[in-house]
């Protein structure tokens, strides 16, 4: 294509866009709905991911040590556990700290505190709180700890209890894992269905627009216009629809996320979507406007084809 042709094509695209005012408006609105769904999907994904991450973060396993276990022994174990690839972090709480926490928790319970004082010595052992990188890896970590426990005999066995082997703790962890996995899968399915639906609607809208112009396309053919020369202005028009719809969608998200930002932050305990939107605006711009322009171009390019067979 020469420069003159490109200029003519762009001018024709803009002119058609302007003169088909109502059709243009309608297509922009349909396109806006599509892009809105795409944008909402991103937000929903962000909320889901952060919420699930927070839920997962609540999961851990605790290893309780015997009161006779020395700090050196415990720290040595801590180091071996930390060296495991599945482990994200290990927190050491000394026997004294455990006692202090226990006292703090029962500060209004005089009976328990009196019993504790009567005892004289610290009945509580130290604790290691272990967090895995992924919720599914607790099993492996717990088994590793049990092997350590089994290998040690007599005095060297310092582990009193690993709560992962408590039925209730284990059930809670398993449940958390199923919930996060299935909600991720469900989220993905819903997203795919939504996007496919809106894509279908958009494509159909473009087919309607071009159906309206089918006689014109025939006339252009009979006057001797080449296929590309007929097609290109429609593609320009489609890209223009996508661009305007994209900007409209971005504009729409501003008050909407502002309004919903605090509510989502409070309810899901995760991110404030308004802040997220502002922080990632270039990304949103690229995805939403880009989707609009590409979608408009492809949809109109394909829709014109069936009327060019003459």
């Amino acid at each position: 294509m020469s420069l003159v042709t490109i200029k003519r094509v762009i001018r024709a695209g803009f002119l058609d866009f302007w003169r088909n005012g109502f059709v243009s408006l309608a297509s922009i609105l349909v396109m806006t709905v599509t892009l809105f769904v795409v944008g909402t999907t991103i937000f929903a994904g962000v909320i889901l991911t952060t919420t699930l991450a927070q839920l997962r973060d609540k999961a851990d396993i605790n290893v309780y040590f015997t009161t006779t276990a020395s700090e050196d022994q415990i720290l040595a174990l801590k180091q071996t556990v930390e060296a495991q690839p599945q482990v994200q972090s290990v927190e050491y709480v000394s026997a004294d700290d455990t006692l202090a926490a226990f006292r703090a928790r029962h500060q209004n319970d005089q009976l328990t505190l009196q019993a504790l004082d009567e005892l004289g010595t610290n009945p509580l052992g130290a604790v290691l709180n272990i967090k895995a990188k992924d919720i599914s890896q607790y099993d492996a970590i717990a088994n590793f700890l049990r092997q350590q426990q089994d290998a040690a005999t007599g005095n060297t066995n310092i582990i009193d209890k690993i709560n992962y082997f408590d039925a209730s703790h284990r059930a809670a962890l398993d449940k958390l894992q199923t919930i996060t996995a299935s909600s991720q899968r469900l989220g993905l399915i819903i997203v795919i269905i939504l996007i496919l639906t809106t894509l279908a609607i958009s494509f159909n809208t473009f087919r309607l627009i071009i159906y309206v112009s089918r006689d014109e396309i025939q006339v252009m053919r009979l006057v001797g216009a080449g296929q590309l020369y007929i097609r290109a202005p429609f593609v320009v028009e489609g890209m223009l629809y996508g661009l305007i719809a994209g900007l409209l969608t971005l504009l729409l998200f501003y008050p909407l996320t502002y309004y919903l930002g605090r509510a989502t932050a409070d309810f899901f305990g995760g991110v404030n979507i308004f802040n997220y939107y502002l922080l990632h605006f270039p990304l949103f711009f690229l995805i939403i406007v880009g989707t609009g322009v590409v979608l408009g171009a492809i949809a109109s390019f394909l829709a014109v084809r069936r009327y060019l067979r003459i």
């Binding site: 003169r19 014109e216 252009m220 009979l222 001797g224 296929q227």
Partner: protein, 238 residues
């Protein structure tokens, strides 16, 4: 009655070689039609509705494919030209239709300019030629009007201006006066005659007796898909 040769000579511009068109429902639109057109001729094709006139014209424009036979334009078999090349062939043929077929979203000027743009002409040529052809059809003051703002006769004149602007070798006018009153009909025929006098070949289909009798040019008469008469200087006989 002076029969025109059915077989092409060296100068032949258009040649229909035993063309038949049978639609899938077995209705016959054309049956074994052969004739040739020399450069500079003014040919009228007459016949009742459904005689096959429009089908004949559509074949020349590669809008329809013959079931049997072939149509040659300047020694090229039209139906062997691939779809993406057909546009350069069509630029050599100016077309005028009964329903005008202007682009509704473009002004008179833009409609004509579009045909020139499609042919890859420069902006300077367009700026100088479009007003010139509009003047030729006496529409210089409607240059910026949309087709919806023009009368039938005016729209047809824009269509003629569009057909001639690229200086085609032949103009095909399919019932160009079918939707027009007698005064406009007369004007359109006069314009076509003028174009023919300037050297362009014209193929006109019509069922208007007055037009044919006034022209005194070659007439091909069609009936039920067949050529029944081909007269050098014909009258409307049916």
């Amino acid at each position: 009655m002076g029969q025109s040769p059915a077989y092409p000579s060296f100068f032949t511009m258009i040649y229909y070689d035993r063309v038949s068109k049978i639609y899938p429902d077995n209705s016959v639109a054309l049956e074994d039609v052969s004739f040739s057109v020399e450069p500079g001729e003014f040919i009228s094709i007459v016949g009742h509705s459904g005689a096959g006139k429009t089908t004949l014209v559509k074949m020349l424009l590669a809008e329809e494919k013959p079931t049997n036979g072939a149509v040659f334009f300047e020694s090229v078999n039209i139906h062997e030209v691939p779809l993406h090349r057909i546009n350069s062939l069509r630029r050599k043929i100016g077309t005028v239709f009964q329903d005008f077929r202007l682009l509704p979203n473009k002004t008179a000027y833009e409609n004509i300019a579009f045909a020139m743009e499609a042919a890859g002409r420069s902006e300077d040529e367009i700026r100088s030629d479009v007003p010139h052809v509009l003047e030729l059809v006496d529409l210089q003051d409607k240059i910026n009007n949309f087709p919806g703002e023009l009368s039938g006769g005016e729209q047809q004149r824009v269509a003629i201006a569009r057909a001639i602007v690229n200086q085609p070798d032949v103009i095909v006018a399919d019932e160009p006066t079918g939707n027009l009153d007698p005064v406009n009909t007369f004007e359109i025929v006069q314009i076509l005659k003028k174009i023919n006098d300037l050297g362009t070949t014209i193929i006109l289909t019509t069922h208007n007796k007055g037009v044919i009798d006034a022209l005194k040019k070659r007439v091909i008469t069609m009936d039920r898909g067949r050529v029944v008469r081909d007269d050098r200087e014909g009258k409307y006989i049916l």
